[in-house]
């Protein structure tokens, strides 16, 4: 299990990293946007060069991608139930992406943006969980009705 999780993390982190680099390339070379589009001036000020700042940002995005992909292993633990799975998935991924976006996007300097970003995620999880719960509850009731009829 640990081996599989580590492998999945390594592969998905690399994918996240490559995707981010491609987006940067598209933004800065093909679209001709000046500078590195996903880096704030405050973030750039933390580094002696833009290249180093970009390198760290790429690694951070790779790490976020890897975490989101790897944490899906929680959905294999069906005995936990999907509401609990969603909560654990949110907490596991949040432990990584929240500090990283605070660092890369310097989001802690903009409390309103930070709150709305996290709030948006939480709300999406809550709404999706409630909708999913109600749909599945209805499906379970329909299946039970059919099974009772067959017996």
């Amino acid at each position: 299990m640990l081996k599989r999780i580590s492998f999945s993390f390594a592969i998905s982190s690399c994918c996240g990293l490559v995707v981010y680099m491609l987006l940067e390339l598209v933004g800065s070379v093909l679209l001709g946007l000046e500078g590195f589009s996903a880096m704030t001036p405050e973030y750039l000020a933390l580094f002696p060069s833009e290249t180093l700042a970009l390198g760290v940002a790429v690694l951070c995005h790779g790490l976020i991608g890897g975490t989101f992909a790897t944490a899906t292993f929680i959905y294999e633990k069906i005995e936990l139930g999907f509401i609990l799975q969603n909560v654990i998935y949110f907490l596991l991924t949040g432990m990584v992406w929240i500090p990283l976006i605070c660092f890369v996007w310097q989001l802690y300097r903009y409390p309103a943006a930070l709150v709305s970003t996290i709030g948006g995620f939480v709300l999406t999880y809550v709404v999706m969980s409630i909708v999913g719960y109600n749909i599945t509850k209805k499906e379970v009731a329909e299946i039970n009705a059919r099974l009772a009829k067959e017996i």
Binding site: Y75, E76, I78, E79, L80, G81, F82, I83, L84, Q85, N86, S129, G132, Y133, T136, K137, E139, V140, E142, I143, N144, R146, L147, A148, I151
Partner: protein
């Protein structure tokens, strides 16, 4: 008992025949055993190491445990050499359903489903065995049972 192969070009598929001077209990039993073995059974090993054929109609569930494939009926649990995916492909789709990555259940042996507040979906079998399935598989099960909507 003689066992031999006979080649007959008029046959389209392999056929097994049991020949004897009369139709007695032994012949009937042999025909039934072979039929179960070939068409509707799973070769399993019980806890004493004895090999037996388990008719599919009696099977409650088939699951993997510690990288071994186990077959459970109302009398007990057995191990089998067949892989879960092989059994999934071989068994009747209308009779068996894959409820999770590691488990197949006999549809006719499902008593009911129970859903908890945390979203755990329990599958309760006819002998009281409790196992779990996912949301995605509940939707598939609904389709297999022919429930529309």
């Amino acid at each position: 008992m003689k066992v031999r192969a006979r080649i007959d070009k008029s046959l389209e598929t392999p056929e097994i025949q049991v020949c004897n001077y009369e139709l007695n209990q032994q012949v009937k039993q042999l025909v039934e055993d072979i039929s179960v073995f070939v068409n509707e059974g799973i070769a399993v090993t019980d806890f004493r190491g004895e090999k037996i054929m388990l008719p599919t109609r009696d099977i409650l569930r088939i699951y993997t445990e510690n990288q071994r494939v186990m077959v459970q009926d109302a009398k007990g649990t057995y191990s089998t050499q067949e892989k879960l995916y092989e059994l999934e492909n071989r068994l009747d789709e209308g009779q068996f359903f894959r409820i999770s990555k590691s488990e197949i259940v006999n549809l006719k042996k499902i008593r009911r489903l129970d859903m908890s507040i945390t979203g755990t979906i329990k599958v309760i079998l006819s002998d009281g065995t409790e196992t779990y399935t996912s949301r995605r598989n509940v939707t598939k099960l609904k389709q297999i049972l022919g429930i529309k909507g």
